[in-house]
Symmetry: D2
Subunit: 257 residues, 4 copies
Amino acid sequence: MSTTLKVAVLGAAGRMGATVCRAVEGADDLELVARLDAGDPVDASTLAGADVAVDFTVPSATEANVHAVLDAGAHAVVGTTGWDDASRGRVTEHLGRVNSGRPDGQGLGVLIAPNFGLSAVLAMTFAAKAARYFESAEVIELHHPDKVDAPSGTARHTAAAVARARSEAGLTAMPDATESGVEARGADVDGVRVHAVRLRGLVAHEEILFGNVGEQLVIRQDSFDRVSFMPGVLLAVREVVSRPGLTVGLENVLDLS
Amino acid sequence: MSTTLKVAVLGAAGRMGATVCRAVEGADDLELVARLDAGDPVDASTLAGADVAVDFTVPSATEANVHAVLDAGAHAVVGTTGWDDASRGRVTEHLGRVNSGRPDGQGLGVLIAPNFGLSAVLAMTFAAKAARYFESAEVIELHHPDKVDAPSGTARHTAAAVARARSEAGLTAMPDATESGVEARGADVDGVRVHAVRLRGLVAHEEILFGNVGEQLVIRQDSFDRVSFMPGVLLAVREVVSRPGLTVGLENVLDLS
Amino acid sequence: MSTTLKVAVLGAAGRMGATVCRAVEGADDLELVARLDAGDPVDASTLAGADVAVDFTVPSATEANVHAVLDAGAHAVVGTTGWDDASRGRVTEHLGRVNSGRPDGQGLGVLIAPNFGLSAVLAMTFAAKAARYFESAEVIELHHPDKVDAPSGTARHTAAAVARARSEAGLTAMPDATESGVEARGADVDGVRVHAVRLRGLVAHEEILFGNVGEQLVIRQDSFDRVSFMPGVLLAVREVVSRPGLTVGLENVLDLS
Amino acid sequence: MSTTLKVAVLGAAGRMGATVCRAVEGADDLELVARLDAGDPVDASTLAGADVAVDFTVPSATEANVHAVLDAGAHAVVGTTGWDDASRGRVTEHLGRVNSGRPDGQGLGVLIAPNFGLSAVLAMTFAAKAARYFESAEVIELHHPDKVDAPSGTARHTAAAVARARSEAGLTAMPDATESGVEARGADVDGVRVHAVRLRGLVAHEEILFGNVGEQLVIRQDSFDRVSFMPGVLLAVREVVSRPGLTVGLENVLDLS
């Protein structure tokens, strides 16, 4: 592999794909070698020698794309949603097959991440680590008012991770004397209260609050723009080449030791 | 009246009353002349020449105290809860009677305030003023987890004031596309969403968020300790002597022009 | 005047001007009747019957534009910088002359505003009102790291307004025991400390913090995008027609009573 | 060792020491067996069978106390300041000597921590981990106005840790186009800007801000009261018994994997 990584973008005409193309072109250590879109075949020829293919397509196409990328001998970074245990299992199996025939240290890798926002991923990761040390924890997510679901998927995942960490540390239910007006206390996600604010002018924001007697820890992240996902996508591109097999979640390629 | 105001405290043995006594003693322009408690008669003799009596007693005693203070020729500042239209009406009537017999500019005043926290009162006042200029508005209140009611009275009043200001300005419903998970969207107070956070370590906090396309205004207040009410109580003592009649709410003696 | 206000935009090809054009076109009660740019004459003919002309041009052109707008019988809203006492004085004189010949209630108005951000203007206004009630006050402004001056003009104005309000209320210097490391305490603007943060990802944000024993009030505003100025510009357009004479500052057309 | 840990407190009459005594008495799994103060000898007899001794005394006494505690066969948790490389070295040597004569898994431990605030320690730890992933980073610390030094020691340590992490990750200087008004940009700690706010009503608070294009991560911690150190002290007591040798910093006994 050359010192410059060659990158193909699948879904290059979409909003995220186009943003990825610009980000790759703006990075000194990366070279954009192919832009593919709906209808384009995905094979060694169209991937044009790419080391890594980045997939921001649609749920109905993404799994087939990944298999085709592996068949062409490239690594894959996937930001498309729609993956489940079955489709991830088939990719793991494919990776095992293809990597058994490759020299040591040159195995192919696939990184699937539901969220490439570094601030969002770090906030969630830190929140899970902090959870066991505090008596109380709540999540507030704030989004633009055109969002149709509440609370956000990120907030749900964060609350679930906080709840899991509390449970593993043997913590019991949080203190809460509320007798009236429980509808003001937000949604209950595994025992963690999650509040959803919808405000014109905002994009996507999350705040995790932790409290002990006399102290508070607040972790907040703000995503102002979809370009905020690019540092995470580029990081994934650079990391996937040295991580054979399937990795799920950007947090697993961050160095947080 | 001397340049030093003489102050009596009713309910001097209670937590708030005792704190008021210390605050009065610490103020150069005020002199503590009487501390009265449950069982003590309230009259010209026990009030000891006080210009102003501050009442932090109990709902069952406060109205009778105010009438007795007026009969003794003193002004009153009241922080006790439990007042309604009827009891306020009787005080207004009493003030009319007693002030008709007093020289111009020397009428007695009574100031009843549900909240003496300057930051809380200012936050609510500013929120009501800002409300007409923003497409979206929501309220988050945060308290210690031993609080039994949600949302807090202050948050309810704030939300109601925001709703009233929006209505007066002809604003219609806020944008909100939420289709699923509405339980994460908090309580609905006159069309304004109010979220209640309960966290060990906190005392009493409120945040009002306003949003337009591309901008946000946030007004936040923190009450860390009951001593935070003292600047408001002392301000009320100094202002009530020049405001004959009944005044309800500390915001009405603030100079916000 | 019809119930729909006719609006001309001067500097329509600039970034702000173009944004104003789109905002006017998107407003039901406004009609965009002229777009003028550098080199275009400004007169009754080119203004095409506009009730109000909005000037987002350049400092070297803005005063002449305003005089020409008045000669054409239209009101003016000005967002261009570069005004001083002398140029404002000439506009006041011109307004006096032209309004003396117009029927009562139909005088022309000119509104010059250095900032059309509603959240920014409200934050500054509220901060000035709150200042007299707190022992401590500090300002934190946060901007993108390409900004060359610190602290921001808005933060300077805010701090000066806070200082003036404190002085008028007879407050003395704020408590500050700092003996070492005063360089961490920010810039001193009339006795108010102002801190400037420069962070990639931010746009323009300001926080004013007030403190008393046991309590804090924080007023924060965020400008995420230049479109955030549009509600303020449209408000100015609607208000200027009923405010003959010169008005400086958007806060003076807000209803904050 | 019994399932209930026996604890001695050195400096029990001081403010921190007295608070530790109450916290130990309030914990089901701990038993307070000795309260020692200035002038009391520290030996096996006065420590009364304590498994762990907690030292909140004075810089001039703390090292001698730790040696005496080790001689008595107990573990030590130290919150007193004044330690340097030399004194820490002597404790390490003492620990080596005494632990060589003890059965495996029963070695004595000493934990010295400059800060027992969990929220403060976690904020600093997370900030160091996040630092490598962001283009910009700044620190704001906020304290009561009676503090004589700026910026706070915690903020200095945080900024230094952020700078070290950036350097290790190969990051260069942060973007900052400031040409005028650099005094508003705070203190420079190893290239990281640190701002110190002093506000009546506050106690001890720290905010670390990170920014990339389009996103922000903020980690904030609030210490409202010295009781906030107690969860950290109790955690240290429980952990030190299974960590032979010298440990410096509460973060090293936290489980952040």
